[in-house]
């Protein structure tokens, strides 16, 4: 057990993966000497060399497209996209090629490519640096989409993503990069796509992933002071969603609020609400409520705290759900 930041956990995880499998490559803009703009790949090029930690030209489609080629050659590229808003030039390669290659080849080729994307807001950045585009990937068959909330999950889920023979979009909650947590690098991790009950409760379930898990835990704590006992489910995986775990929770609590930073409209909450409503129709005492971003571009930094779902907005939804 070592306490480390989430960024450091990812760094260690990459290091472990590169040590144990010579086919693992790290590639992206500024991942070499600089160690990435968040220093997540710090020191890797120094230790593994330029052939395995590759500073690429400034072209995201090129990065993902060449990673696909490297995967065809037997490599396992871990691609870094510098910020959420810069994944879109690579979107075509991800959606039409990476996601579909295995099926197109009737299973004859595998696409073990991990795309790491620091995502979400709350760091006071300029436009395109604070977005949460996970729904745009979860809708696409052939991709797996995950997001860790803690250093331990960051470490282990990345290990598992790299070992996975499918393309994995690995969303890193960038505003949690500097949060510390215990990481047991000798543990037996939970299955990659398993949701975990981060806090047990009886009155209502809060479901979240990535950066919003912490907010939900804080909300649960605040609610406790008001005598409300909230359960928090850390979904961890967005494609697939572990609906079994969530269903069990909702059957117990009978109420669900889903929280994410991404805009609510066509967001993850919609899928989760629909499916849980279908599975738990007779259990639910309130409609599944969703808390998330508005249908607007991510706003300038000086209003992002109002835009982002925080304690108050989560508790407001809890109140509304409990009022049914």
């Amino acid at each position: 057990m070592t306490a480390m930041t989430l960024a450091k956990a990812i760094n260690s995880s990459l290091r472990t993966a590169m040590e144990s499998d010579p086919k693992v490559l790290v590639m992206g803009e500024d991942v070499g000497k600089l160690g990435g703009v968040f220093r997540v790949t710090d020191g890797l090029q120094k230790d593994f060399g330029e052939e395995r930690v590759i500073d690429t030209p400034l072209a995201e489609s090129g990065i993902v497209g060449s990673a696909i080629g490297l995967a065809l050659r037997g490599y396992r590229p871990v691609v870094e996209i510098q910020f959420d808003g810069f994944v879109f030039p690579a979107y075509d390669q991800i959606v039409t090629q990476l996601a579909k290659m295995h099926a197109r080849a009737l299973g004859k080729v595998k696409m073990p490519v991990v795309i790491r994307i620091p995502y979400g807001g709350g760091i006071g950045a300029v436009e395109h640096h604070s977005e949460s585009p996970e729904a745009l990937f979860a809708h696409v068959a052939g991709l797996k989409v995950i997001s860790p909330a803690t250093p331990s999950d960051a470490y282990w889920m990345l290990q598992q993503a790299i070992e996975c023979d499918d393309p994995v979009i690995f969303f890193e909650p960038k505003r949690r990069y500097w949060d510390k947590g215990e990481v047991d690098t000798a543990a037996v991790p939970a299955p990659l796509h398993r949701a975990l009950v981060a806090r047990e409760g009886t009155d209502l379930t809060l479901a979240a992933y990535g950066p919003m898990v912490k907010v939900c835990l804080e909300a649960a704590k605040a609610a406790e002071e008001e005598g409300r006992n909230l359960e928090v489910v850390d979904l961890r995986s967005i494609s697939p969603v572990d609906f079994d775990t969530l269903q069990a929770s909702v059957e117990k609590t009978r109420r669900l609020v889903v929280v994410h930073e991404a805009p609510v409209f066509f967001g993850s909450g919609a899928e989760i609400a629909s499916r849980i409503t279908e599975r738990c129709f007779y259990h639910l005492e309130a409609p599944v409520l969703r808390v998330g971003g508005f249908h607007s571009p991510y706003p300038p930094a000086r209003v992002e705290e109002e835009y982002l779902p925080g304690l108050d907005r989560v508790l407001d939804a809890v109140d509304r759900a409990l009022a049914f």
């Binding site: 090129g62 065809l72 039409t96 090629q97």
Partner: protein, 382 residues
């Protein structure tokens, strides 16, 4: 072919028979349209009669296969076909320049290249019949699946070539694309990546003068092979209807790649003799006279003229190739007709290599749904 038409074409950067004195001709040619051997200052080739006959056989069989596929489409056995008619020399010449350990990234029209790689022609038809999206194992013949989204495969080829270099292997990679594809950002990014990493890849552009209804002028105002220099690697234009020149130029480019010289762009100047696909009606946008002019440059007729001039082939050989063609066509025809529709449950296969809970759930639901029809008369009627 009239000399006039060649001249007209060359005004838009096209074919020139010979460069001005002292200059390298823009278009590498080793065999004139009349089947005469000419020399080139940079590229040479010396093939045995047997090798020459082999190229002829490849081209004839490829053309026959292509024609059969068009017929099968007309008969409703295929949903679509993208004919390579006219591009046999570009494909056979370049494909025969590859080694087994090289890796090929085609678009959707590289039936001739597939042939040279040993891919069973029947395999190519699955996608056009609508029974799969690419029915072969790319690693069996180092021939990647057909790629429909224009330009994408040039990046895959580049990445693969980067991997070859990392492995210290001396193989090369070749990426096929069209004149239209040259406009895609992905192709430019492939040029950038391959140059920066000095990847052993040959970009083989079949400039067949058309991207569906758009002539090459809608993609570029200078000859395409010139694109390469600005990315820091050589570009060369070869007469794409001259199988010897294509073979020589592609061999040199692949050899350069294998020996650490990095990427090369080869522009094979050729012509799409048919419509874009069986869904297309070329008469809406181009004159048949253009097609007729190119007929005079036919790649197969050209090589046959040379074989005959050289007395490198006799009637028995031609008859044998003809018989082989018939047999191939028959095999293809019968093979396609026997190709079964996929089981609907295969929709859920191979979406993921390591499984996905939602796919499992949907598979089970769909199986139950389908099973429900087995016992109800009512359901079956709907």
């Amino acid at each position: 072919m009239s000399v006039k038409s060649t001249a007209a074409r060359s005004s838009r950067g096209g074919a020139k028979r010979r460069g001005a004195a002292g200059q390298v001709p823009e278009l590498v040619q080793l065999l004139t349209p009349e089947g005469e051997r000419v020399e080139h200052s940079e590229y040479s080739i010396d093939l045995s009669p047997e090798e020459l006959r082999g190229l002829y056989r490849d081209m004839v069989l490829t053309r026959r296969f292509d024609a059969e596929a068009i017929t099968l489409q007309r008969q409703g056995e295929l949903g679509l076909w993208a004919s390579l008619l006219g591009q046999e020399a570009a494909q056979i010449g370049s494909g025969r320049a590859t080694r087994p350990d090289d890796y090929v990234f085609p678009t959707y029209r590289e039936h001739g290249v597939a042939w040279t790689r040993g891919v069973d022609p029947l395999n190519l038809l699955g996608m056009f019949r609508g029974v799969n999206n690419g029915g072969w194992d790319p690693n069996t013949n180092n021939f990647q699946l057909y790629t429909i989204v224009i330009g994408s495969q040039t990046l895959h080829a580049t990445g693969y070539a980067m991997g070859v270099a990392k492995d210290g292997a001396d193989s090369a990679v070749i990426a096929y694309f069209g004149d239209g594809a040259s406009s895609q950002g992905d192709v430019a990014e492939a040029f950038t990546f391959s140059a920066v990493y000095n990847a052993p890849v040959v970009f083989f552009c079949q400039n067949n003068q058309w991207a569906i209804s758009e002539p090459t002028e809608k993609q570029t105002r200078v000859p395409l092979y010139q694109r390469a220099a600005g990315f820091g690697f050589p570009g060369v234009r070869v007469d794409g209807n001259d199988v010897l020149a294509v073979l020589a130029v592609t061999r040199a480019a692949l050899e350069r790649a294998r020996s650490g010289g990095g990427p090369t762009l080869v522009e094979a100047f050729t012509y799409r003799m048919g419509a874009h696909t069986t869904s297309d009606d070329a008469s809406r946008y181009r004159l048949d006279t253009e097609r007729q002019e190119w007929e005079a440059k036919d790649p197969i007729a050209r090589l046959k003229a040379y074989l005959d001039n050289e007395k490198a082939a006799d009637d028995a050989f031609y008859a044998e190739v003809e018989a082989e063609s018939d047999a191939l066509a028959k095999r293809v025809r019968e093979g396609v007709r026997a190709m079964p529709d996929p089981d609907p449950m295969t929709i859920f296969d191979n979406v993921y290599a390591d499984g996905h809970a939602l796919v499992d759930e949907e598979r089970a639901q769909f199986a139950a749904y389908r099973a429900s029809f087995a016992d109800t008369q009512e359901g079956a009627v709907r």
